[in-house]
Symmetry: C2
Subunit: 397 residues, 2 copies
């Protein structure tokens, strides 16, 4: 038994958890069609010049600029170059060739005149304006050269990035592989939807809460289990979880009461059991089991959810290359009192551009109140009283 019991601040506990979540970053290779929203694991350089070949920017006529330097200029139309595979014949001096947008500009031509700026009469094309060398010609490599950086590392892949990869003939991309997470919810009182609850039973909301918060933070859930207060069942779930996952999250069973299966199993394995100066979410535990970090949250639904947001989601988002949750000050639209000595995370809703109102109460069972919120109001531990008009820090949900 290596029970350590101490009261820590939110920031201390967040730092402890961050230090435990230092698993190696894994990379996976995805075809472009599956890579939307993933984050590049390294910079991508172009294997080709873009454009691949010198081509026309317009439907029009490819000419030598020198041949239309004196206007009006008449040139015979000697052919047509569609945007199709093949090498067109070189352009003879004193001639013009019809050319389509994207088609290869023939050797000998150095400018394109758009079709709307040319008049065609009896197989001749008449130009009224001279053109500079290079007009409407897209040079090979003018977008990007072979070996140039096409995308930086840590790019959250949107359609424009995938399009640029495809344009360079790249079929797959190395992205940051999601952290693999196992979720174990505990509690003899928990039942799943579809069961008619008996007195004392509640529907398990922690499983879906943790699973979806983990996914929203860019990680993947590879193992889930729900166990009652049974030590052997929890040990078995833990074995499965540590075999499958980089990180195990548990909810419930860690407070100082009896029947605290998570605490009772993890303490002999060296867990740190902590009470955080935080409301909701006081009791917390961390352990490393078979080399895998185990982060244990209290079982009150709101405590579980806010604990995930405060302690695990920020690290997972960072690992996934996703932006952090938006923190910003807002003006409180009401007076309120807070618990002395505890950092309180109240549920709130944005009011207008810069205001915030409190939603529901502080109690950790108010799951509907949390669902009706769009941010958390983060009140420092030393703050006891706030007045309408005070500025508070908020965290977007």
């Amino acid at each position: 038994m290596s029970l350590q019991h101490r009261r820590a601040t939110v920031d201390e506990h967040a730092a402890l958890i961050r230090s435990l979540l230092q698993f190696d970053r894994r990379v996976e290779t995805l075809p472009l069609d599956e890579a939307l929203g993933h984050v590049t694991a390294s910079a991508v350089t172009s294997p080709v010049d873009l454009p691949l070949f010198r081509n026309s920017q317009m439907d029009g006529f490819a000419v030598r600029a020198a041949d239309i330097a004196v206007v009006p200029a008449e040139l015979p139309i000697v052919g047509e170059i569609p945007a199709r595979p093949g090498v067109p014949a070189a352009l003879e001096p004193g001639t013009a060739v019809r050319i389509m947008t994207g088609a290869v500009v023939p050797v000998g031509a150095d400018a394109v005149v758009p079709v709307e700026d040319a008049a065609v009469v009896d197989g001749l094309v008449i130009f009224e304006t001279p053109r500079a060398v290079g007009a409407y010609v897209r040079d090979r490599g003018s977008d990007l050269r072979t070996g140039d950086r096409l995308l930086p590392s840590a790019t959250v892949l949107g359609s424009r990035h995938l399009a640029a990869l495809a344009a360079a003939g790249i079929a797959s991309v190395d992205v940051i592989a999601p952290v693999r997470v196992a979720v174990i919810t505990t509690g003899a009182e928990l039942v799943a939807a579809g069961v008619d609850p008996q007195p004392g039973q509640v529907y398990d909301s922690n499983a879906i809460a943790v699973v979806s918060a983990v996914r929203a933070a860019g990680a993947s859930v590879v193992f889930t289990a729900r166990v009652a207060d049974d030590h052997e069942a929890f040990r078995e779930a833990l074995r499965g979880a540590t075999e499958a996952a980089d990180l195990v999250i548990t909810s419930g069973g860690i407070s100082m009461g009896d029947y605290e299966v998570v605490r009772e199993v993890l303490e002999p394995l060296g867990a740190t059991v902590t009470t955080i100066a935080m409301q909701p979410g006081g009791p917390q535990a961390t352990a490393v089991v078979d080399g895998v970090p185990v982060i244990s949250f209290p079982g009150n639904p709101v405590s579980t959810q806010i604990s995930v947001e405060m302690f695990v989601a920020p690290v997972l988002r960072e690992r996934a290359g996703l932006p952090a949750a938006l923190r910003r000050p807002r003006m409180l639209d009401t007076d309120l009192r807070s618990v002395p000595g505890k950092r309180q995370l109240l549920r709130g809703r944005a009011v207008g551009e810069d205001g915030v109102t409190v939603v529901g109460g502080a109690s950790s069972h108010l799951v509907a109140g949390l669902a009706a919120s769009d941010l958390l109001i983060d009140i420092p531990a030393q703050t006891v009283e706030l007045t309408k008009g005070d500025i508070v820090e908020t965290i977007a949900l």
Copy 2:
């Protein structure tokens, strides 16, 4: 043949496309585990009271508040109520019972005293402070009553919403079904990655660009095809597309040149072929084929991508219940000239909080330049010249 050729503004064309994309909204029912990020199709009311039963907010002692009104008060501990299924015995006056967080508060008790505020000596518990009726007791329905609205319609489902549904015993949720989109890219010059391009061939970036932009806008892609300049192949792709999808998007083959397969097939079917006063993205077409809207974009990669962002993605995002792309003014860090008479959408990057810089040129082949951008700079058609320090409208990518 019902060719209509006219020059329209971006706003007119956007309105035309919006009017065509009025397909019926479909609803699908998803298990909670698959519903993250989807949008509720209707409000959800709670089928139960939350909490389901009166329960303790703390580990402690359930008492009658009247029995500890005069302190210090000593009460015999008559038992223990864990957070487990079952109906505990009623509490006799003058007694206390140990109770765990979440456990049923017994009939007869009306307050809970946290364990840290009670001293236990020889089977008696001693209280030093009176408690109000209801202290640390979570009443049935105190979070939400049966029939109350649990979630409004159009909620983008996050973990807290899924948790609230689960807590109410709800196993699945009606969400807005994604619009089904077909994507057909055309062009004899296009090849897929993995092929060594011959002179005149380019890698198709439009397919992945449109497919992923459509997905990012909350729709699903149910059909894709790549066809050369062959009329029969395009007709066949169009048949498959209109059978499978609510909306068909094509790229390429609609300008005034020859070999314009999309225009040549769609015009006899009543297509509106338009030139928009917009750069990039001038030539555009719309049609309705077998009752399904067909939106046709030009094949230049940047034209295709910007056309999707300007004309289709906003409507799809709105249909999916997703927020619109962020538009905001920013201060230009350079002088620039724009084409008179055309609304220009330049590629740019945010600079600091409020600035913007231009990325690459205006030409519609600069796919790497677009990939290096994070916003579009929207320059009105009448604007010809802008000076460093001018304020421009930007659209987030």
